[in-house]
């Protein structure tokens, strides 16, 4: 991959990543993560 192609691809993927984060935050995914993470995850510890 040439340097130019790499730079374009990287920049495009950065924009997609940013858009994804914004979309996820706007539809409430952050609170889903928070809700799961502030209680003991029973599956993680091998109980649930």
């Amino acid at each position: 991959m040439s340097e130019k192609t790499g730079n374009i691809l990287r920049a495009a993927l950065f924009l997609i990543a940013l858009a994804f984060v914004a979309a996820g935050v706007s539809r409430g995914e952050m609170s889903t993560v928070l809700r799961k993470a502030v209680t003991v995850c029973l599956e993680c510890i091998g109980i649930g």
Binding site: A17, A23, E29, V33, K36, V40, E43, C44, I47
Partner: protein, 290 residues
């Protein structure tokens, strides 16, 4: 002088688990930082965890009855991958450090770096346990189970399950067959890490599989200068991840530990973030063609 990478690994481990009160009280941190993911594998149920594990967070959203995809977690992971690639595995992942400490336990070490085809295991773990099961196998309430956390993740068992079960009598009472299975699986993985360098990274870690896709285009990359390379093979001999950095400096298997850079007698290999990279060559394939 202490190894710079080791110092960074310890700092990352401590920063990931900075909620020391949690260890003393046997409970998890409940603050809002937990809505953010760290780049490495660090269970959010570890009493010290100050933020969320990206794999746990991804499964939590994928398994939620409202969603089939997590824009937020995938976006964050893409961002981490685009900046660091698998530098995260080599420098920032707490479970990566733990595996290297297991490998320090004196024992006979496996020759070579492990069968290549087994490396597909981490992609299977990512596709099946992290994505497919939470999305497609949902219970009556429409909730998918976090299968990687439940059946595989040794970080969850070692850093969260064992300390919490030890600290809380109610969890001790609830621990049954699944807990026994997870302890057995974690012990088997830890034992494998004693004889095979970063066994979990190489063969099972879905996070390493994901970040590996980005090694070629991340801001942090390695390269090899064909004019300086004397083709002695020192770099591939020293690499414990089974990479030949003179041929494939941005291999998906490379965790950017830097051992090959130190081993190279002619400073042909270079590594660093784009724009500030020193050494090596601009064109990553140069040594192989020379």
């Amino acid at each position: 002088m202490a190894d710079r990478r080791r110092v960074i690994q310890w700092i990352a481990l401590i920063a990931n688990n900075a909620y020391l009160k949690g260890f003393a009280e046997g409970r998890v941190y409940r603050g809002s930082l937990k809505s953010i993911c760290v780049p490495g594998l660090n269970c959010y149920s570890c009493p010290g965890a100050a933020a969320s594990c990206p794999l746990g967070a991804l499964q939590a959203v994928l398994g939620d009855y409202r969603y089939k995809f997590s824009f937020y977690v995938v976006g964050l992971m893409m961002g981490f991958g685009l900046v660091f690639g698998r530098l995260i595995c080599g420098f920032l992942c707490p479970f990566g450090l733990m595996q290297e400490l297991f490998y320090k336990i004196p024992s006979r070490k496996a020759a070579g770096s492990g069968a290549r085809w087994l490396r597909w295991g981490k992609y299977v773990t990512l596709a099946v346990f992290v994505i497919a099961i939470p999305v497609f196998f949902r219970g009556d309430l429409g909730i998918g189970e976090p299968a990687f956390c439940k059946y595989i993740c040794p970080a969850g068992t070692i850093t969260a399950g064992l300390p919490l079960v030890a600290a809380q009598p109610s969890l001790r009472e609830a621990a049954g067959g699944l807990f026994a299975f997870k302890v057995f699986a974690a012990a088997a993985i830890a034992a494998a890490c004693v004889v095979i360098y970063r066994f979990f990274c190489k063969f099972l870690c879905p996070l390493g599989a994901f970040y590996g896709f980005f090694n070629r285009i991340a801001l942090y990359r390695m390269s090899c200068d064909g004019n300086s390379c004397v083709r002695c093979g020192a770099c591939s001999r020293v690499c414990r991840m089974g990479v030949d950095p003179s041929r494939e400096p941005d291999s998906a298997e490379c965790i950017r530990c830097g051992d090959c850079l130190k081993a190279c007698p002619s400073s042909a290999l270079g590594a660093g973030f784009e724009f500030v990279r020193k050494g090596g060559a601009k064109d990553a394939g140069e040594c192989a063609r020379g």
